[in-house]
Symmetry: C2
Subunit: 741 residues, 2 copies
């Protein structure tokens, strides 16, 4: 651990040996496609299959073909696999078709017509909150939270200043490199087997059980090599797997559905748009007295994971600042667009963007530098967060800032740029954000999951890791191998990570929430140590051993006892307490802490912004694999640069209309500077050898740091992303008019 | 029936929708390869796995990994799936390897070394008969036959003339367009499932049963789209399926083995080389008094199907000529080359080549034209064949000859060519052959097979044909559909031929021996009529009905009774009698009769022969599909032109050394004239509406017709094929020397 070793699956990927779902072709396999709702909200009158298509050769599935229950089992059971009488968003699955000829399937789907009677839709958070129409249950509210610490109301009239602000973030497309795809083999006799691109095999198993009304044991889910996830393959694969399985069940043939990029963009989940209102009281010393935060996210038409995205966004909304009085109200609301879903950061990038912009606003009002204002308010060991979680570890924001500022020459540039900007339409600015990100599931989430992971040795002494955690490009296989190799004192080549296949691996929880390394990694460490213990106690292995002795001991043990396995199950540490009712307590076992600095140039002729330099300094506990860890930060920062400046989902009547990579612009390597990544390894209480989660962290800081830098460059505070050139222009124009009034 | 309709699977093939075995890729699939013996015959000392290959990643199977019995269950059980202590021919399978990376597999197989001690081999029929070495049981004889009719020995001294001759035919490569390939999924729990290119699913099931020692029900064989067979996918697929299944069984993963063209050529079965001796007594009127035939074929190292190839070759060796006294002795012998096997014609092309060349020799000796000599001896209704089979149908050889000669202007050219040849090195000749070919299995073969075929109707009224007969390019699916459509009075679109899958279709026997249309076609006709009868008797269908009424009746029947199926089993016609001991009686239910005329140009500077014109006139009973039938004849003639003139397997120490299509020369469309095909439909006693077999017939006549034409062109009788330019040159040179002595 701590060393740079080759990726476990790297060779396989580089040599084309890795098998993605679309590389698999079963005998007699059909290709499936989804017929989707043609409007935002409506009552289905009729579905007709026309055109020059041999429809009698097709398998067609509609809601009435579903053998079990027509809902996706996730949190709430409000979303159907196939819309039946009504549809609630554009591109909602209504019917499925399949045929041997995938080109004919593509042609055929154009000739299915859904006649419908329109129902009134809702397209904005505000309209949803204001109940312009009731489109979900009684009040359009999927979930709401109230977090209270101290009493904000007794503070307002004592405040030196009260500063308010509104902040907005847009949707963001996942753009994993491999689109969603699934193959199903399904029949009443053998049950359902699914191969596909996914993050959470056991989620799919759970979702398909009521759909087919068969026992869990008859549902087998197998991950194929997966080209990226980011959260976008957390919940949606259950729907796609269900669709493929329904077609397979009806036709008696294997069915493959692989989405095109356009379909994946228009139909699957994106990051939740958000609207945050802040009201903050500060004293004369620039210290936070009270924070009132109102955080709303747009969940789209069905609940999906919005309640937990909201939870994480809510907890992170007051950030790494100490304040005695905090009230956070939050809600996830229904709109008539496809459901928004899990996406790297899971609500935190939204609420942290708002918070950091608001902190900059307060600093400005107080005539303090952003740096100085933060210095006065950032959390320290012994203080409490908004959920009253006592911080028991050293939080060295001073050190992180010092490092980040030194690396970027921040202080000098902070003074110099405003002067030099006067002479040019190319305005330079430097800005930063200070933030934290919790690792693992929120609150009592991990306790309820009670994940299990295991290791198993074969007769060659090879140790197989048994876990449902998926490799989705982030390095799971490599890190797990490092953890097991270190625990057992074996070379990396003697560790194999078995394919996540629900028939063979235990449920180690979903591969989400920056939990894989810290939570599951630790289970693997414990299981590996248990395996070693078993061998030593059997007398077949001495406490000190070579690889050869290990292999011989395994062989001998297997001859004697038949199987050599060890499992470990998550147990919540004693010192973690959480109150789910009051939303108070230890929201996470631990946090990663970070200071990110961005340097930008804003062109006030073209209104384009370019990130010239980016430094990411963070404290993440033990760094298991420096290159993979840096890769996570680099990738996250690049994705967050897209989130801040480029990636603009254009909506029309609840439907994404720029669902191509030609007009949905993501940053390429030409748009991203060399991202400079630095790790501190201070706090190592949790995770294998003290490794915390790092996957989501880099998604949080870049957008506020960049907008802070843009404010520095232009003098104008902008509070909405994506800040594409036309919006930047609009902001500057308004500010100009404001100043000229 | 009798109409030209589109091929049932034509659209699927043309549009790339047809799924061949190599189009299938299972999750986690390995690619297998075969390690083959490096010499002709030897005792294995050691197998070593060297080179820069990660052998620990490979699955390796040798004979000792076989869970059941190490022999291919076919007729005799002498051939192992994997050579154990000894190998008996070059390129014999010794070990199997598999890995995820098919390119690595190709590299790895070069680094396996088999050390061995040589054992003395045998390479020719003569050496085998003379027991130069005993290489198979006690005498090198796989099988021998003795056919006696009358008493030849009492004739010799009464004869006007006794004419003797020796005739030789070479091996021929199959060259189906799709090489052999199989995929296996196999484990003790679920049994063995095979997908692949094949002719005989039930043969594979039979072969795998003792190999794995599991019940027949646990072995499932499924034909994938098959790119040609010609008999070459009759027995070898059992071996390949066994290999794939052994690797799958050991690794627990699906395994695909697809041969390259070179491997397919060097390792799989070819046409048996043959040596035939004729001794014939004729009277003063040019009538046959006695025929003594000694027919030997080279079976290669294992028995495989040589006994039945020999049987058919033996029965056809006296051809369509009437003679009171016939003695045929025949034998299939062992040599140290890969086993020769089933190939279109199945022994008959060899013995008919010898017979026709010999008939030409006799005619010459008697100073009769080939035409006149045949006219005096060809079989007529009421006469008997060599097996004393009474011919009960009209045999209109006069009519067939008249038609063929008229179409080719034979008589005029027969006179004209010798005169005009004197002026040019381009010598033109015209020649012909008269022959017959039996349809179906020989003797009591069909009785023992007792094949079953069926039809099943679904709720749309679609009639599914259930048969193990395979579509291998010859038109099975189309012809079966025509037969069923005609029997039921339904449009062709309402007939579907289900995939041959041993789980769902009955054993309708192998797809060989020109039996599919005549034997299985008739079973389908009977089954279809039975299905109709069932519906009419149920009262749900009137005797006269439309397609819609049919569909409704099926739907109503299925609602009431659940399933609508009808099977038919082969019963030998009352008037067929066969004595297996004496090899006397009705060798076949019926025969196809033919006269083929070839016109050639022999270039006496380059010694190349070109077939300028070819007319094939035959009587085959009912022609079910004129275009497919003509296609069978055209393809067969082209293949037989290759057999006669181009296709030369070059052997070295029992191994084919020109196993590439660059130096094994097959005729292309540039080497083959427009083949003119004519059918007579006289005798229609057997088969659906009187259709006989036609698949093998066109393989018999072209070689002797072409050599007859070459003799006409050059004046030299040549008695060995392939008559490649160097052999032709050698023959002409010897003849020249002989004349100059």
């Amino acid at each position: 651990m701590g060393k740079v070793v080759p990726r476990k699956e790297g060779f396989k990927k580089l040599t084309g040996r890795a098998q993605y779902v679309d590389d698999i072709t079963f005998p007699g396999m059909l290709h499936g496609a989804t017929i989707r709702s043609p409007g935002a909200r409506g009552r289905i009158k009729n579905i007709s299959f026309g055109g020059p298509i041999p429809w009698d050769e097709f398998v067609v599935v509609t809601a009435k073909d579903i053998p079990g229950e027509n809902h996706v089992a996730l949190i709430l059971y409000d979303q159907p696999f196939l819309a039946d009488k009504v549809f609630n968003h554009p591109e909602e699955p209504v019917a499925l078709i399949a045929h041997h000829d995938k080109y004919l399937v593509e042609e055929a789907r154009k000739h299915v017509r859904i006649e419908f009677e329109s129902l009134p839709p809702v397209f904005t958070i505000a309209d949803s909150i204001n109940k312009k129409e009731i489109i979900w249950e009684n009040d359009n509210i999927f979930k709401s939270y109230l977090v209270q610490k101290g009493d904000v109301d007794q503070v307002w009239n004592k405040a030196h200043k009260i500063i308010e602000g509104d902040y907005f973030t847009g949707a963001q497309e996942q753009l994993y490199i491999e689109n969603n795809g699934m193959i199903a083999v399904a029949n009443a006799e053998e049950g359902v087997t699914i191969w596909g691109s996914m993050q959470c095999p056991y989620y799919i198993q759970k979702a398909l059980q009521p759909l087919f009304k068969i026992s869990k044991e008859k549902i087998r889910i197998i991950q194929t090599e997966t080209g990226g996830g980011f959260g976008g393959k957390e919940e949606y694969p259950s729907i796609l797997a269900g669709h493929a399985a329904l077609l397979a069940w009806k036709s008696g043939k294997p069915v493959k559905i692989v989405y095109s990029r356009s379909e994946d963009m228009v139909a699957t989940t994106k990051r939740h748009p958000s609207w945050t209102k802040h009201k903050t009281a500060v004293d004369r010393d620039g210290k936070l007295l009270a924070m009132e935060i109102d955080f709303s996210i747009d969940g789209g038409a069905y609940a999906t994971l919005s309640s937990v995205v909201l939870s994480r966004g809510t907890i992170h909304s007051a950030g790494p600042y100490f304040c005695e009085n905090v009230r956070i109200k939050s809600r996830a609301v229904a709109t008539s667009s496809p459901p928004h879903g899990a996406f790297r950061g899971f609500g935190a990038p939204q609420s942290i963007f708002a918070l950091e912009r608001h902190m900059d606003k307060i600093a400005k009002e107080l005539d303090l530098s952003p740096e100085e204002f933060r210095r006065r308010n950032l959390l320290k060991k012994g203080q409490t967060t908004a959920t009253s979680q006592l911080i028991k570890e050293e939080v060295d924001f001073e050190g992180l800032m010092a490092k980040a500022f030194k690396l970027t020459d921040y202080k000098k540039k902070f003074k110099k740029f405003p002067l030099q900007n006067k002479k040019s339409h190319l305005k330079k600015g430097i800005g930063f954000a200070t933030f934290m990100h919790g690792a693992g599931f929120t609150g009592s989430g991990e306790k309820h999951l009670a994940s299990v992971a295991g290791v198993q040795a074969d007769e060659k002494g090879i140790v197989h890791i048994l876990s449902a955690s998926t490799e989705i490009g982030q390095g799971t296989n490599t890190i797990f191998s490092q953890v097991a190799a270190q625990a057992l004192g074996l070379p990396l080549e003697m560790i194999e990570v078995d394919i996540p296949d629900t028939r063979f691996v235990p449920d180690s929880g979903p591969t989400v929430a920056s939990r894989t390394c810290m939570i599951v990694g630790q289970l693997i460490e414990t299981a590996a140590l248990g395996l070693k213990q078993t061998l030593i106690q059997s007398g077949l292995l001495k406490p000190k051993y070579t690889s050869k002795e290990w292999a011989k001991a395994c062989r001998d043990y297997l001859k004697k006892f038949g199987v050599l396995k060890s499992y470990s199950q998550y147990k919540q540490p004693q010192d973690i307490e959480w109150n789910d009712e009051k939303y108070q307590g230890d929201a996470y076992a631990t946090y990663a802490w970070a200071v990110y600095v961005a340097e930008v140039t804003v062109d006030t002729l073209t209104f384009e912004t370019r990130v010239d330099d980016f430094v990411a300094v963070q404290e993440v506990g033990k760094v298991v694999h420096p290159v993979l860890a840096a890769g996570q930060i680099e990738g996250g920062v690049a994705q967050a640069i897209g989130y801040a400046l480029y990636e603009n989902v254009v909506w029309k009547d609840g439907r994404m209309i720029n669902n191509q990579m030609t007009n949905y612009i993501m940053p390429t390597s030409m748009d991203v500077p060399d991202i400079r990544v630095y790790f501190e390894e201070e706090n190592r209480r949790y995770g294998p050898q003290g490794a915390k989660g790092i996957g989501e962290l880099p998604m949080d800081g870049p957008a506020p740091a960049i907008l802070n830098a843009i404010e520095h460059a232009t003098g104008v505070a902008m509070n909405s992303i994506p800040l594409v050139p036309e919006i930047l222009f609009e902001n500057l124009r308004k500010n100009h008019e404001a100043h000229n009034v």
